[in-house]
């Protein structure tokens, strides 16, 4: 009954511009799933955001549902979809796009935001972020909490090792030299301080791997998401380099390095350089008792990093009114002021150049120059690894990388096996 009322209202409202408030008789409910991927009182921040949005749009009730990690969130969204009670809006990994398309879960956002204001809005995001949003000529997600990988380094330890704290390693060779110098052992030969840590445990090995393949000018997948290029020489070379850092140069722990404990390792001064998401900036700033620097990925052939983080997705299951309401919230949350607030509170990169131009963002960038590193890296950043059957193919790549790093397989063989397995999985999609 309610849906009929809403549908007829929506029909009446067709043609109204988005900037005008929607006058509905009953408030539209939008269920909004979001992950919590960085520390801090994210739930509170989201609740406040939703409350502020409601003040400006009293006819829309956004109900935020906190869904865990990115992996948990996509699982929950699909679970609820298959059970018939999906949300209308969610923040999910940008790489989940193909999965959502295959499950027929989401609507193209360019279809909803098809007026001039909407087009301008879609065009206002950093292109590097939008690369994970496009497929089949449509835009499926809009950036909300995005990041790149950055290199955090301990300036005190640099000084102690005789390195210039204002000049972090800029090339692979410099990285090797610096890490070796920064690795300290005690009297019995046990390492007390590692030069470098690039996490490879859990579900993120592939992401950090892209921070090695991109500088080596290798792209791992095509835009259609049905082909991967894992056994090219440049890719294998990057994998071998990763392995060499621990085995050949002794500057990195062997075996897999846990993602969750890497920032803590940095804060405990057990690692002088760590590679992790720029989203950790707030945490590290809050807890580091030493001066630290943030730098872009070292170059080999070129610079570069994958992007990361979450996009807004609008779900097909919503009524037209709900979809429009969800769109409104997404647009509101990515407006320059809001995007700036979100970035400052969490450490993610503000997703539009306009957000960086706001006075509060400019001030923040001055106080915390480290925050701008990720933004500047966007110029050389590439899409995050994403294909059809994303979870499965990503697992194949992760397993291969972990096999290399634990010495179970040589780099060439592991990547060739991964290529074969991925081809098998992706064949139905070509």
């Amino acid at each position: 009954m309610r849906r009929t009322v809403l549908k007829s209202l929506a029909a009446v409202m067709a043609g109204a511009l988005f900037s005008l408030p929607v006058h509905a008789q009953q408030p539209v409910d939008v269920e909004f799933y979001y992950p919590v991927a960085v520390g801090g009182p994210i739930t509170k921040i989201i609740d406040n955001m939703v409350a502020d949005f409601h003040k400006e749009n009293p006819d829309i009730n956004v109900k935020p549902v906190y869904a865990g990690t990115y992996q948990d969130s996509i699982a929950k969204v699909l679970t609820s979809m298959k059970g018939g009670q999906p949300p209308q809006l969610a923040v999910l990994l940008s790489t989940d796009m193909f999965t959502l398309i295959d499950e027929d879960a989401v609507v193209p956002i360019d279809g909803l935001a098809n007026d001039a204001a909407g087009k301008a809005w879609l065009g206002g995001f950093y292109d590097a972020f939008m690369q994970n949003s496009r497929s089949g000529g449509h835009v499926w997600g809009v950036p909300f909490q995005r990041s790149t990988i950055v290199m955090y380094y301990n300036k005190n330890l640099f000084k102690a090792a005789g390195l210039d704290p204002e000049h972090p390693p800029a090339t692979w060779q410099e990285l090797v030299d610096a890490s070796v110098k920064l690795t300290k052992k005690d009297a019995s030969g046990n390492v007390t301080q590692w030069g470098l840590e690039i996490p490879s445990g859990g579900a993120f090995a592939y992401w950090l791997f892209q921070a090695l393949t991109t500088p080596n000018n290798a792209i791992l997948m095509n835009e259609a998401g049905n082909q991967v290029m894992l056994d090219k020489p440049a890719v294998v070379e990057a994998a071998q380099f990763w392995r060499d850092l621990s085995v050949k140069h002794g500057a990195m722990p062997s075996g897999t390095i846990d993602w969750g404990t890497t920032p803590k390792d940095f804060l405990e001064k057990k690692a002088a350089i760590v590679w992790t998401t720029t989203g950790n900036l707030t945490n590290i700033r809050a807890n580091a008792d030493f001066p630290f620097g943030v730098a872009m990925m070292p170059k080999k052939v070129r610079g570069g990093s994958p992007t990361g983080g979450g996009n807004f997705y609008i779900f097909k299951s919503g009524t037209p009114a709900q979809q429009k309401a969800a769109l409104k919230f997404a647009q509101w949350a990515t407006s320059p002021e809001r995007a700036a607030d979100w970035s400052i509170a969490t450490g993610y990169v503000a997703v539009t150049p306009a957000a960086w131009e706001t006075p509060k963002m400019k001030k923040y960038a001055q106080e915390v120059p480290a925050a701008a590193v990720a933004r500047d890296q966007l110029a050389v950043s590439v899409a995050e690894f994403s294909t059809h059957e994303n979870q499965r193919v990503t697992k194949v790549l992760n397993d291969a990388l972990q096999a290399i790093l634990t010495g179970a397989k040589p780099a060439q063989q592991a990547m060739t096996d991964a290529q074969h397995e991925s081809d098998r999985i992706l064949r139905p999609y070509r």
Partner: protein, 316 residues
């Protein structure tokens, strides 16, 4: 347990009425109806959530996974072939068997030792009982996070202790050789206390005169244990063994929290792989196929218990 069942075999020999001619047989027929009525709710639920799903799993393993707009089609043994060729499946199965082998005897033996200790009037007995049993009341997901700290290289607890002795640290959860044993330790730690309670109850049911008699005869503690206690504790041991076996295949919370199956599937367990395939890859047909294997393993264990072990157990 088996003895009771055997008794019931005899009871079942009671004759069923051929025709409700006499009031006695009518009364028995009524009784039978009452019996069924009492049983019905439990039976329905059991059928719905144990028996039916088991059969449905088998059924679904012969079909493909419905995806988006494509419905499921009959594929015969295709899924089984995929499973046979899947190295991750074999790794998971193998890991699970090793895991069972590593945790079951250890936790049972440890539980017995703990019970024996707590049963004696050692000083601080209350503390000991508390300390052994505490892991049981803590949720596994919580303890997994704590153990994550213990295993963290360099500043984790184990690393710090090793450091005091000048020994090198080990990347416990990040090396293929140590990831699974690390999980086994967490499992044993969690379970032993729970099994201890069963042994404790059994021990307190052992008449002290037996011990006095043995001491009088000059039997050593070991002899007393081996000749008197162990056979008496057999039913408990059996019960505990079965529980440990089920838990070895059922509990994967620590895998979810600590290693997520890594590195490179070195610590993945069968149910965890099923969970991944079913709820991460959404390949429900393949998940069903994997579940069939799990059911087969559990079924085999059940067979082992009911046919073989029960016959060899000494009951009082």
């Amino acid at each position: 347990m088996a003895r009771n069942m055997k008794m019931s075999d005899k009871d079942a020999g009671a004759a069923m009425p051929r025709a409700p001619a006499s009031p006695a047989s009518a009364a028995r027929a009524m009784k039978a109806v009452y019996g069924w009525l009492l049983l019905l709710p439990a039976l329905l639920l059991l059928a719905a959530f144990t028996h039916y799903p088991a059969i449905a799993t088998l059924w679904h393993s012969f079909f493909s996974t419905p995806k988006g707009r494509r419905p499921a089609v009959f594929v015969g043994l295709d899924n089984y072939q995929t499973m046979r060729d899947d190295p991750v499946f074999w790794r998971a199965l193998w890991n699970n068997l090793w895991f069972a082998l590593g945790t079951i005897p250890t936790s049972v033996a440890l539980a017995l030792v703990m019970a024996l200790w707590v049963n004696r009037n050692l000083p601080g007995r209350g503390f000991l009982r508390l300390s052994y049993f505490t892991p049981t009341v803590l949720p596994m997901v919580a303890v997994a996070n704590i153990w994550l700290f213990f295993y963290t290289p360099q500043y984790g607890l184990i690393a710090q202790v090793l450091g005091i002795f000048g020994l090198p640290g080990v990347n416990w959860l990040g090396s293929r050789e140590t990831a699974l044993p690390a999980l086994m330790l967490v499992s044993v730690w969690k379970e032993a206390g729970f099994f201890m309670i069963f042994y404790l109850a059994a021990l307190q049911g052992v008449s002290p005169s037996l011990r006095e008699a043995a001491m009088l005869e000059g039997a050593s503690r070991w002899q007393y244990f081996r000749r008197v206690l162990w056979p008496l504790l057999m039913p408990t041991t059996l019960f505990v063994l079965i529980n440990a076996l089920i838990n070895a295949f059922r509990l994967i919370d620590h895998v979810v929290v600590m290693t997520r199956g890594g590195p490179d599937n070195a610590s993945t367990l069968l149910l965890f792989y099923i969970f991944q395939v079913g709820f991460s890859f959404w390949d429900t047909a393949y998940a069903a196929t994997l579940t069939v294997v799990l059911l087969a393993v559990l079924g085999l264990a059940a067979l082992l218990k009911f046919r073989w072990l029960d016959k060899r157990t000494h009951y009082q």
